[in-house]
Symmetry: D2
Subunit: 319 residues, 4 copies
């Protein structure tokens, strides 16, 4: 379970259930961890984007992370997001994450301030050096508004700064170039590069990413259907790609739940996170579908859309 070994498998970004007042609902969060571990996942990513990390205050982040670590109880490694604008603020989160028992850290490039790639490299090196924990780079241009270049990731992989990459850039071509540069799908473990985990955040093309050499997936939708993603992962590992494609297509259809809220009325983020949380509520895992301010909550029509998708995917009985 040491995260300094390449992490493989399904590592969902754990939603952060909130109570009606907007505080972390620790009982629901512990049940969610049980739901995920029980579904067979291989790791947990706390304080990621799907965890509403951008919305949680520092005390809430600490409560959420401690709850996940405690509930995981060493059964799977816990990665902790240390998401903030720049190096000094990320270092403060890293210190808190270490104290809370995280096994590894996940950091983006700096955002808000415009940053040069050389400064981004400095950022990751400083966080790695000061935190003393394995570090995953989180490539998420939709939020960070810059893309980590394959050349930079490769440099930071080869000098040991990074233990892995969580790639949510959607740029599968660049990811493929990185895999090949690091030794190819089959050769990475033996190559000149140290062990390096490539985790895709592209939850709709996991079969393809694993085929191409990714080591695992960080699927937001995995909160709702962890067992589905584990079956998909196992099918690829077993070489049964037809089964993998069928499972992936079922999950793609289920993913439609993220469109619950109308685009003219609310953000795509709010719609997706609200849908995951209401799905978990309908499945009996968490108590509330509450999302953090200023996100607009799903209305009844939107919740009905979520419920219909759960029934269509076989996660709730068809009425």
């Amino acid at each position: 379970m040491s995260p300094s070994q390449p992490l493989r498998g399904v590592v969902p970004p754990v939603c952060t259930p909130l109570d009606a007042a907007g505080e972390v609902d620790t009982a629901s969060l512990a049940r969610l961890v049980e739901h995920l571990v029980g579904g067979g996942v291989h790791g947990l990513f706390a304080l990621g984007s799907s965890s509403e990390v951008a919305f949680l205050t520092d005390p809430q982040r600490e409560v959420a992370l401690r709850t996940v670590v405690e509930a995981a109880a060493g059964r799977v490694p816990v990665l902790a997001g240390v998401i903030d604008m720049t190096t000094p603020r990320v270092l403060a989160h890293a210190e808190a994450a270490r104290a809370a028992g995280a096994d590894a850290l996940v950091a983006t490039a700096p955002f808000y301030a415009r940053t040069h790639p050389r400064e981004t490299a400095r950022h990751f090196r400083t966080v790695r050096d000061r935190s003393g924990l394995p570090l995953y780079a989180y490539d998420l241009p939709v939020s960070v508004h810059s893309k980590l270049s394959p050349a930079l990731v490769r440099e930071l992989a080869e000098d040991g700064t990074l233990a892995g990459l969580k790639d949510s850039s959607g740029d599968e071509g660049s990811l493929r170039r990185l895999v090949v540069a690091l030794g190819g799908r089959d050769g990475r473990a033996d190559g000149p590069a140290p062990a390096f985990s490539i985790l895709t955040g592209s939850e709709l093309t996991v079969d393809a990413a694993l085929l191409a050499g990714a080591d695992g997936v960080v699927p937001g939708l995995g909160n709702v259907d962890p067992a589905g993603y584990v079956r998909l992962y196992d099918a690829v590992r077993a070489g049964d790609l037809d089964r993998a494609v069928a499972e992936q297509e079922r999950l793609v259809a289920l993913f439609d739940l993220v469109d619950a809220g109308p685009e003219s009325e609310m953000g795509r983020n709010s719609s997706a996170i609200g849908a995951f949380k209401h799905a978990l509520r309908l499945l009996g895992v968490v108590a509330h579908g509450t999302t953090a301010a200023p996100q607009i909550p799903l209305d009844e029509t939107a919740v009905a859309h979520v419920e219909a998708r759960l029934r269509a995917a076989g996660l709730l009985p068809v009425r």
Copy 2:
């Protein structure tokens, strides 16, 4: 060979060789067509982005298209790009393409003028109605600066406006949602949708795209190594995904030739097109590596980079 049937396989965007004066080198272009058809490709896409369609005058476009149609001689279908800013200008190109013998048209959404999705739908419907040829939508946000939504493509697929999609958006998740919406990888032929070809322009992840349900690929690099892409396609069709991955990884390594020109000195477009053309020259297929104005030509160092990549990929003998 009727393009009103779903087009499948490898359909390279045919480079347009130019002579030293910048005019279309028809003898080289005919040899290139022979190189491609001889490599086993299943169709040809003339006047695409890799053909420098944006740089060719209308008379040059006509010469290039007529040369490809004549050289193809009915052995494979010829798709013709009708790339321009808006409907009236695209219609003029469509008329020219029909007269030159194209089997189908490939059009982007309008660009330069900002266009609403409803206007984009009107655009494709008008081009389809007036041209009388099968129409492929070309999704290329890097040039067009808007993305075709899966919902719009689906609408235009289901009402018969589009015969297919050439997806160079790199948004594999949206493409997957489209595949599933149209019936899934195995069900598309039998579903409520008419036959609809999905061709990916993501030349570095063809194995993954075909696994996911794409029908074919439009690889710029296929100018250089058509047989490699045909082997990759055949391996997936034969269910031999390990062989497909190995072939894809070889092509990914070869793709490094597009970085021949230094980023600080010339555009990424010029570097890639220049590299394809010089590779074809080094392989003895075309006479010149000339690219159209205002592209900066590759210098000697860059050409040496191209040559080294060809040797490493086994396309030229290692010295």
Copy 3:
């Protein structure tokens, strides 16, 4: 009237009236030129974005330009847009513009293909050298998706490639840096730089731009109210900035007509161009409000919005 001298004043981008079939309505266009020249404008910009240049076929471009040149009859200079993707295509338009009698050309940087600044410089130099006409650079990032840097414009001003700049980038800070680099508001004529016209396309801040050192303005709204822009220009030149601000504020209020069409239903381009054309129809200048395909036409509600704005601005009698 020689455009090789710095062009100063109000130079509206002339709308291209279309008949119901979408062809150029030359009688309306001649009346529009009379409306503009009668309003006191100092030049005419044919085949600009507000002229729907992106929508006109090559024969339509020629008809429109010849009509403007003939109607202007030497009273004011005529600048012609040569808007296309790359150098070879722009050169073809430049040849046609020279043949039609244009006094100067207006070209953007290349678009569709990604272009390096060095290639953009090559582009402008080639167009200037081959066309033999004074050349204005048209900086329009909303359409071209790149911004001309002040350093590049300055280089091309100082070596005589460019006779001027039509700046629709909205980046007033960069424009100011350019003015200062070229000698400052008062010093440009005498500095080391050759005469160089700076025309702003920011029609809502003309008072400010002229104060800062711009030589003139290219206002789309000037089609509707040329005399208003001429009064605004004259007020600044006379040093009566209070009067200039009042006139500008009246024009800003009038500009609301571009929001005629609902954003959820049609493009911002279609709404603005449709509003200008319907306003001209309501003013009795042109026969139709038709816009080119695929633009969605204004509906009755939208036209009523245009009419109300004209009445509020004093251009139609208040009922």
Copy 4:
């Protein structure tokens, strides 16, 4: 000095001097406040982008703000930036700012998470309601990656949510539409809208912005030359626009110091902030030119560039 009255004049974003270890250098910061107040500025904006707010930890933010409030000693109002990703985190900063004695708050729209305009409105309303302090919206698309629409700002101005706007969007046309919608340059105080301060962050076009109806300016360069901006402001208020233009042009030339660091080596942010800080060091105001991690520091050549600009602008004696 009540910030619930419209704030007018020069309100520089106060740089945060750091010592060699990267901690807030409070002695230097107090001297900087004296430099600014002594220069005649009308307010201070602590914890803005030029203050490196994105780089300061929460304890550092508190030290910096308390130092500014204490040094200002009630002579001018102190606005405090509460820059963070979403509402809950901004509220935590608001609480700290109130405790530290800020007179008003400055908040951006949410960032990192994609947010709908309705959610952005909710965000500002919640921050205003919970904080109990006058609230300024900070429109900074280069960092926040969304633009506040004039319609939204107007709505929040008219219902009293916002006391003002700090507009660093560079979109002068939209700002002008807002001024006109709120009653025009001269009519805003008497219109239906409550008093509302419009402060531009466009430090290179202050003469133009004030002419158009802005109430003041928040110039990063004002750290270096506060008296220059005060003279510029006073000249416009006195109706002497020629003097204002001359002063603005001098400041535009001085602004070249932000290009001290080479674009290929460091971020534009690092170059600008580093230049401001080294300029302040050369002027004897602060002890170090240190910038926060991961920004690359200016090298000797860059510092020499800064010094040359200071001499050229008359801020240091010419040697």
